[in-house]
Subunit: 219 residues, 2 copies
DNA sequence: ATTTATTTTTAGACTAATCTAAAATTATTT
DNA sequence: AAATAATTTTAGATTAGTCTAAAAATAAAT
């Protein structure tokens, strides 16, 4: 079928695609996959031959229907495995991404559906990312971050936009985990940092860098 | 670390090694891995450079301590994942091998140990093969097969030597699954086929081809 | 509208793993 | 012990994926 490498390219293109812009740039894919633009061009040609992407020289790429289906099924796999690792094997949310990067490429529709069932059809992964259903429908969060809240506004933490271990560890240390209620007490004009209270109780200080990566559902 | 391919070679050499004979032949590895002898020679050299096998030209190979540890950990992984697929995801014993071939290469000691714990430290996989413990100790079954039983002797099915879907399916259809009690009623001299009863009840006919691949604990 | 900068593609080389065909070695027969 | 057969290794090619450096195309600045 498709190699791990091809699958990673499809996933990257999917991640970088957005409804408004039409083509994903070679450089952005190279950046995402930590590789060189020339390598990306080569692979794009290959995926284009396989009808998994639409490609016109110098004009960027986009996924075909076929390519998108594959990309989404990989994302589905990735997120289901992350749930498994956290819920069943007691991993922490900052430990599961790399393992899921490998597990996601084991392609078995049967295994995926059984896993989904075993996990009782979770809607979100440990980072709050939505798990595509078996028909490939994904329902993304509205993109409101803590940084968008104004003074005295409240919200619930529903996800993160940044998945690094250091960020996730930090969030956990100040109890800003999924489901936490946060209220903005004050915003410092100078650096846009916030002082906020979590679950009504404590007072924490959060940099703009941190607040803009925390996805919030407004209350 | 080591590539999937290297790991598969180590596993093959481990499987083909036996306490009595000292070197595994190039051809037998090629046969096991469905590849050509020349490819095997190339890979052996590479593994030798990495000190994972001992190799002298034309004299066959054997695993070093380092190589053996890796091979056993892959086998451990393989068999634990097979248990997971059968016990937790309700796969049948004939459906899990190929998936485990992929899952076994995801190397995370932490995941393996957590999985082992989650599965409540199983001793055997769905085919009766022993699961190496975390220190690499493997306790193999004594190699008695149904074909070794004489008339009127009884035994318990504890494993299979052949893992093909067709064989496993066939065994299941005549209730010769792990734990079944079998009694040899009659042996036909001509083709060494047997008529036998399973769990005291039924009467089945088993070819020599089938009986010699069924591992038995004598009663 | 040119010039300059940035992005993207091509050309050519490299590594891992594989193969076929030929050569070298070891094993088996006569 | 020589001849033949079987096994194993080498030589040389191939494919996937990657890289650097140079060329081509597009975008931005003057
Ligand atoms: Mn992830
Ligand atoms: Mn995630
Ligand atoms: Mn197996
Ligand atoms: Mn097994």
């Amino acid at each position: 079928m498709n190699s791990f490498t091809e699958e990673n390219y499809l996933k990257a293109i999917f991640k970088l695609s957005s409804p408004d812009t039409d083509g994903v740039s070679t450089n952005s894919i190279a950046e995402e996959l930590q590789t060189k633009a020339s390598s990306v061009t080569d692979m794009i040609k290959k995926l284009s031959d396989k009808k998994l992407v639409k490609y016109k020289k110098y004009q960027g790429v986009s996924l075909t229907k076929k390519g998108k289906i594959i990309a989404i099924s990989i994302v589905r796999n990735h997120r289901l495995w992350e749930v498994f690792l956290v819920e069943k094997l007691n991993f922490k949310w900052d430990e599961v991404h790399d393992l899921a990067e490998d597990l996601e490429h084991i392609n078995s529709e049967k295994m995926t559906e059984r896993l989904d069932e075993f996990l009782e059809f979770p809607k979100y992964d440990p980072h709050g990312d939505p798990i595509p259903d078996k028909n490939g429908n994904v329902y993304n969060h509205k993109d409101v971050t803590l940084a968008d809240l104004k003074q005295n506004e409240k919200g619930i933490v529903v996800g993160v936009k940044e998945h690094s271990k250091s960020y996730l560890n930090y969030l956990e240390s100040i109890n800003l985990v999924l489901g936490a209620e946060i209220k903005v007490d004050d915003i410092i004009d100078f650096d846009r940092s916030m002082s906020a209270s979590v679950n009504g109780k404590k007072l924490v200080n959060v940099s703009h860098q941190a607040s803009k990566n925390l996805i919030i559902k407004k209350l």
